[in-house]
């Protein structure tokens, strides 16, 4: 009986059933969650999309990006600009008026169209990632050097967005949205619709990442994580793979940013600054790098903990957050999923345990400096 449960084919079936149950629970959430909670969950699920992209680049390729707040923010601003224009209804957005801008800047004009805004919300983050990747990966700037550059990218982007107040809304960012497709944003139908759209996008992103990870592309990514130079001597150009993975990852963050703005109704530079960017990393670290389900679980669980803790006890939350960073890296490098994999076999027969106990990311991803 026990053995039948752990045979590969049966395990696959259970896994599939698990996914189906999770999807069903998510789709039916509007039936049993209050509006407030549904909106919160929608936000968490948007974050889970970022986590998927981060796992692809960090967990699977071994590249730590502290710059995903920027990609998230660029997507969010793209959608925010569209909503702002929709709210202004043909006039100039309010903050431009205040700053003495008289004519709509040329780079705002395309965002009038929802389709173009969505496209740019994906393409701009991806293009920026490709650009940065081109000038770093090709020259073998990697490991911590790359990580520090991504953090610098966050600082300059935030400073730029705050500094160019007339075009970006400055510190306050973009808010005061009212309509999407001519419908009110605050209506119940719109909220449920946006929630369901997020669930669908999340599932799509999950399926996409799963495909990527299982394909030969994913195998090469993991090979790069284990030994970038060795991959080179097999005739692969690691830079191309790293750029592709980084761009896909950035595009996912951009998509998440667009959904985030629709749920929350505001985007400001502080939401893409250093702290939110590094918090995104923690979602993946806690969930388990190198495991896509882990990334989703980590994002939702941590944000749930944050929203319940930080409002009533902000001090405790900061201690908790700091402690989690330490625990996740020193004691729990495999995250929740890694822990489950370590504990799980204790309940199973020995032969089934053979070779899955430890996630290999742990040490290898740190090897190349």
């Amino acid at each position: 009986m026990l053995q039948a449960l752990t045979a590969p084919r049966t395990r696959k079936l259970w896994l599939l059933l698990g996914y189906a149950a999770a999807a069903a629970a998510l789709f039916s959430a509007p039936l049993y969650l209050s509006d407030f909670r549904l909106n919160l969950l929608a936000k968490f699920l948007a974050f889970a999309i970022v986590a998927l992209g981060l796992d692809l680049i960090w967990g699977y390729t071994g590249i730590l990006s502290l710059g995903h707040g920027v990609f998230f923010g660029l997507g969010a601003y793209a959608m925010g600009m569209h909503l702002k224009l929709a709210a202004a209804g043909g006039r100039l957005p309010d903050f431009m008026d205040w700053s003495g801008v008289t004519k709509l800047p040329w780079f705002w004009a395309p965002f009038e169209s929802f389709g173009v805004a969505v496209l740019l919300g994906i393409l701009i983050p991806a293009a920026l990632a490709l650009f940065l990747g081109f000038f770093t990966f090709r020259n073998r700037i990697r490991g911590v050097y790359f990580t520090i550059l991504t953090q610098a990218l966050v600082i300059i982007t935030v400073t730029l967005f705050i500094g160019q107040q007339a075009y970006t809304g400055g510190t306050n960012g973009l808010t005061g949205f009212t309509k999407l497709f001519g419908q009110g944003l605050k209506t119940d139908g719109m909220k449920t619709g946006l929630y369901l759209a997020t669930v669908i996008v999340l599932i799509g992103a999950f399926v996409l990442c799963r495909y990527l990870v299982k394909s030969r592309f994913g195998k090469v990514l993991r090979a790069i994580r284990d030994g970038e130079n060795r991959v080179r001597f097999l005739g692969f150009d690691p830079a191309m793979y790293q750029m592709a993975a980084f761009a896909i990852s950035a595009a996912l963050a951009g998509i998440a940013g667009m959904l985030f703005v629709l749920h929350v109704g505001i985007i400001s530079p502080s939401m893409m600054a250093i702290v939110p960017s590094i918090e995104m990393i923690l979602w993946v670290a806690i969930g388990g790098r190198g495991a896509l389900v882990g990334a989703v679980i980590g994002a939702v669980a941590l944000n749930y903990a944050k929203s319940s803790l930080s409002e009533s006890y902000p001090e405790i939350w900061t201690f908790f957050l700091g402690g989690l960073f330490i625990v996740a890296t020193v004691f729990l490098p495999g995250g929740i999923v890694g822990l489950a994999k370590q504990i799980g076999p204790l309940f199973r027969r020995k032969e089934a345990v053979h070779d899955q106990a430890l996630n290999p990311v742990l040490r290898e991803s740190n090897r190349s400096v």
Binding site: L234, A244, D355
Partner: protein, 259 residues
């Protein structure tokens, strides 16, 4: 009687921060040849392999690869381009992908279309590919370990896996750096058999310290010393050479210079 060479190195010089690891080294390989590169520590053997596979760029000299498609100057190409042209390299310490399974390691080594697009579209192996991997697994004797993470293999098994990867990569020239270092006698023997198999189809350069191992093969030996060519010939010729004996037995330097 000499056939046109498949690889020729002329006056190659390599420097690391002023220290000359290789000085004006010449090396020419015939197609299908098995060549041993021997010499004391620090003679520049590994550095020569590094030059040929593009890991190290020489400060002067020429390395020409006479591929079927024409002659190519190696020193101007990037590593992955050189590998794609058909020069494979096995490093001294086994460098396999620890997080991938044995089978996945082989699959990556085998794939001939190495672009991102092709990799994105490939999800499962074709039947012919699967059969090749099966054949390779039984050749290197890792059939039972195919689903195991490569990081869990023993040292010898890792070496064989890497040799298997090199074979699937199908290079025209294969560069092996001390393939039997750290192996037990039994493992060494099996590696010798593998090597015989490999040599039949391609040009191979082996850097080796183990003289007993080298003697098993009747092939040409190149002796390097202090970054320079000391002697080239059969194992017997090399062993009779006085200068080689001096270098290996560690006689005084001045004698060495006179000789």
């Amino acid at each position: 009687m000499t056939k046109p060479s498949i690889l020729s190195c002329e006056k190659v010089t390599v420097a690391f921060d002023g220290f000359k690891a290789v000085q004006g080294m010449d090396l020419a390989l015939q197609p299908g040849e098995l060549r041993f590169l021997i010499g004391p520590n620090g003679a520049g053997k590994t550095t020569m392999l590094d030059v040929v596979c593009g890991k190290v760029k020489p400060v002067s000299g020429k390395v020409t690869f006479h591929a079927k498609s024409g002659s190519i100057d190696i020193t101007k190409r990037k590593e992955h381009k050189i590998a794609e042209l058909g020069i494979g390299r096995k490093f001294q310490t086994p460098s396999i992908f620890a997080g991938l399974t044995v089978e996945e390691n082989l699959e990556i080594a085998m794939s001939q279309n190495r672009g991102v697009w092709a990799a994105l579209r490939t999800t499962a192996m074709k039947k012919a590919e699967r059969e090749r991997i099966d054949a390779e697994l039984s050749l290197i004797g890792l059939g039972d370990q195919r689903a195991l993470r490569a990081g869990r293999l023993s040292h010898g098994q890792k070496q064989w896996l890497e040799i298997g990867m090199m074979l699937l990569q199908e290079p025209e020239i294969l560069l092996l750096d001390e393939p039997v270092a750290g192996m037990t006698d039994k493992e060494t023997e099996k590696t010798g058999e593998l090597l015989q198999e490999i040599v039949r189809k391609r040009t191979v350069v082996v850097v080796e310290h183990d003289m007993a191992f080298v003697r098993n093969f009747a092939s040409k030996v190149t002796v390097m010393h202090e970054g320079k060519l000391l002697k080239e010939g059969t194992m017997d010729e090399v062993q009779r050479d006085d200068r080689v004996a001096e270098v290996y037995l560690g006689r005084r330097r001045d004698v060495d210079a006179v000789g």
